[in-house]
């Protein structure tokens, strides 16, 4: 039964997936390479260093089937953080023209203030229609070879990202040009018990562009689903992008995501990884700083309760001088939930004058809650400033009593203090609508209705 190479696709019951036809020739080549890597990597066990605290038993014990197209209409309202946003919707990994700003013909395009332009279209269409834009980046955002990464530092291997490359059929191509005034919302909806989805999102923030996007993942709670999304983001020279990622899936969902960003010189990328939902969630976020004078935020807010298991692995590569990066993770763990955080920062030999700050703080609300956190700084340059700190605490007695003595009920007082803990990150999100809806969801998760 145990061979050296796990037949991993069949381990998930997804053999049928590997056989689907796959677009243009260059893509088929990409997919063939990805299949090779995925086969070699298999489905990791907890013996694997990067999966030490995250057993995948719950995932591999089930049989999954390749995702079918979802329904054309939804009973419940799809998430929207801001009434005036431009919203695009992917249902079961497929770009949905009708739900993406009803009535707008595909591709969704919009003019922002200052002559900006927004293109949002099915990735499947973009593979052929926009080959010149898509091909250089798809699957290439993260340096994959030791040669590309540099002598001393190893590239990561991401078996689920490889699997996504093998099987994805559609997703979103988003191109941002100039200044985009409205908030851009990307909504991923999953529905269909026992189905697996592999949406692929490619975001191209062109030179000098400015935009704010929020990418929200939900599932409809009608049975376990498994999503293995890959989002690739290219922030070109001088571009400024705020990217909020919200994982708010129903509590029986499985979510294993890969999120890679490439930053060109003088670009700014402010990313926020908000994790509220799913039974098992793992996000691998990588940011490659490929030029001087970059500013980067990679912050996270995690709130896990019940039996949730939420794991975030971040990796930041400072490959050029004068990069500023800030990483704050605020993690709230209640009941029997487990939260894992691993934050790698590599400062490459040439990356002099790097200024990198990493903080991760956990708040344990119950004696059976678990947090495993590991900062990992590897520095190969000599003139740099790098700091990291980690704390684990509980709600303090005195502020709770203070609030209660003024009449605030216990549960609400606790929720307010938990929010205050998370607020240090949430309040950095510049879009007020997004911030408020994330605050509201956090209170809902904590069982407090603040109306």
């Amino acid at each position: 039964m145990s061979t050296a190479v796990e037949p991993s696709i069949s381990l998930l019951g997804l053999e049928a997936w590997a056989e689907r036809p796959a677009g243009p020739g260059w893509l088929r080549e990409l997919k063939a390479l990805a299949l090779e890597s995925h086969r070699a990597l298999g489905i990791p066990t907890t013996k694997h260093e990067e999966w030490k605290y995250t057993p995948l038993r719950g995932l591999t014990e089930r049989r999954w089937t390749p995702g079918e197209p979802g329904p054309a209409v939804f009973q419940q309202e799809l998430p929207r953080h801001e009434p005036n946003s431009v919203r695009v919707v992917l249902v079961n990994g497929r770009f949905d023209r009708n739900l993406s700003e009803s009535g707008t013909p595909s591709p969704v395009t919009g003019e922002g203030a200052g002559g900006g332009g927004l293109t949002a279209k099915s990735l499947r269409d973009a593979l052929t229609e926009d080959e010149a834009l898509v091909r250089p980046w798809l699957g290439q955002v993260r340096p994959r070879t030791t040669q590309a990464v540099g002598r001393e530092i190893k590239p990561d291997s991401h078996t689920f990202a490889e699997l996504n490359t093998v099987v994805f059929e559609d997703g979103l191509f988003l191109r941002l040009q100039g200044e985009i005034a409205p908030l851009v919302e990307i909504v991923h909806v999953s529905t269909g018990e026992g189905q697996a989805f592999a949406p692929r999102v490619l975001i191209l923030a062109e030179e000098g562009s400015r935009a704010r996007i929020v990418e929200t993942y939900v599932s409809d709670g009608t049975g376990p689903t498994f999503i293995l999304p890959v989002t690739e983001v290219i922030v070109k020279e001088g571009a400024h992008l705020e990217h909020v990622r919200v994982q708010d899936e129903s509590p029986e969902s499985f979510h294993i995501a890969n999120w890679q960003t490439h930053q060109a010189p003088r670009s700014e990328y402010h990313s926020y990884n908000v994790c509220y939902g799913a039974a098992l969630a793992r996000v691998d976020q990588g940011i490659w700083l490929d030029g001087e004078d970059t500013v980067t935020r990679l912050d996270g807010v995690v709130c896990a309760s019940g039996d949730q298991h939420i794991d975030n692995h971040t990796r930041l590569d400072h490959a050029f001088p004068n990069g500023n990066s800030f990483e704050i993770y605020k993690q709230v763990v209640d009941d029997r939930a487990t939260v894992v955080f691993n934050g790698k920062i590599f400062v490459h030999q040439d990356a002099q004058k790097t200024d990198a700050k990493q903080t991760n703080q956990a708040l344990l609300l119950s004696p059976t809650a678990t947090i495993d956190s590991k900062p990992q700084l590897e520095i190969f340059a000599d003139d740099v400033k790098c700091t990291h700190g980690a704390t684990v605490g509980q709600l303090e007695d005195l502020p709770l009593f203070y609030m209660r003595s003024r009449g605030v009920p216990k549960q609400q007082a606790e929720a307010v203090l938990v929010y205050a803990f998370a607020a240090e990150v949430l309040e950095l999100i510049t879009h007020e609508g997004v911030r408020q809806s994330l605050e509201k969801r956090l209170y809902e998760k904590l069982g407090v209705d603040l109306t």
Binding site: L398, Y402, R404, S405, R406, G407, V408, A420, F421
Partner: protein, 254 residues
């Protein structure tokens, strides 16, 4: 209004007894000053009345309007009209002062079955009180007590009291650390709230405060008990002579 009867309280952790048979009766409309040496149990008394779980009542009772407070949670006591101005007000980073206070007020309105206040009517409700206590807009929007000076924290306590309009107000050394002007401001805040259906227990070390907030009774708390009570002239006597003579007196009668 308030009857404390033979109250014994200990620190829950180490069972050290701090209040050792304290009795005190306060009628509506009255102001009672409580004075006493450091460590005699004044703050413990205030905290036990407010319901702090650090302390365990082992004997005796606290009645508010004839009903025991002891089984009530701190927030329920607040809804019943109890308020303590903390000797050391607590900083709560990330929670704005106005948000906090509105949540507190709305929780009580809700408990009373009344309609809650929206942000606008709340701002209207507090406007006059903000002025009375000389609070700045900045202090209102900042996190609760965070980075406030000692005096600002004390003014904020009285401001909260003015907004919540409790019936039993326990002020624990609200005068400590105040400059003369702030003392006057705080006293004005308290005096504005004095009314026939409201009572005050004012814990202080200084007779000076009692020139501004004139008490009906003055009590001396020593080693967990009220050992002497009198009128406002008792405070003057204490200022003059210290606590030694009372200790001697208590020792002689014990």
């Amino acid at each position: 209004m308030l009857q404390i009867h033979d109250l014994h309280a200990q620190v829950a952790d180490d069972r050290r007894e701090i209040l050792k048979g304290l009795s005190l009766t306060v009628q509506a409309g009255e102001v009672h000053a409580v004075m006493g040496p450091n460590g005699s149990g004044k703050s413990t008394l205030a905290n036990v009345v407010a319901g702090r779980e650090t302390y365990e009542v082992t004997r005796g009772d606290i009645l508010l309007d004839g009903e025991s407070l002891l089984e009530s949670e701190p927030d329920e006591r607040a809804h019943r009209g109890v308020f303590m101005a903390f000797q050391y007000p607590v900083e709560i980073p990330g929670v704005s002062n106005t948000y906090f206070l509105r949540a507190a007020l709305n929780a009580r309105l809700k408990a009373e079955g009344k309609e809650e206040m929206d942000a606008m009517s709340f701002l209207k409700h507090i406007r006059a009180k903000v002025q009375l206590l000389g609070l700045s807009n900045d202090m209102l929007s900042r996190s609760v007590n965070e980075g406030f000076s000692g005096g600002e924290k004390k003014r904020n306590e009285i401001f909260q009291m003015a907004v919540l309009e409790p019936r039993l107000c326990v002020l624990d050394e609200t005068d400590s650390g105040l400059d003369i002007d702030a003392l006057q401001t705080v006293a004005n805040g308290v005096n504005a709230l004095r009314s026939p259906d409201r009572a005050f227990i004012v814990v202080t070390h200084y007779q000076r405060l009692l020139n501004f907030i004139v008490p009906d009774f003055v009590h001396v708390l020593m080693d967990g008990r009220i050992v002497k009570s009198g009128g406002k002239e008792l405070a003057l006597e204490l200022e003059d002579k210290g606590y030694g003579w009372i200790e001697a007196e208590v020792g002689a009668t014990a």
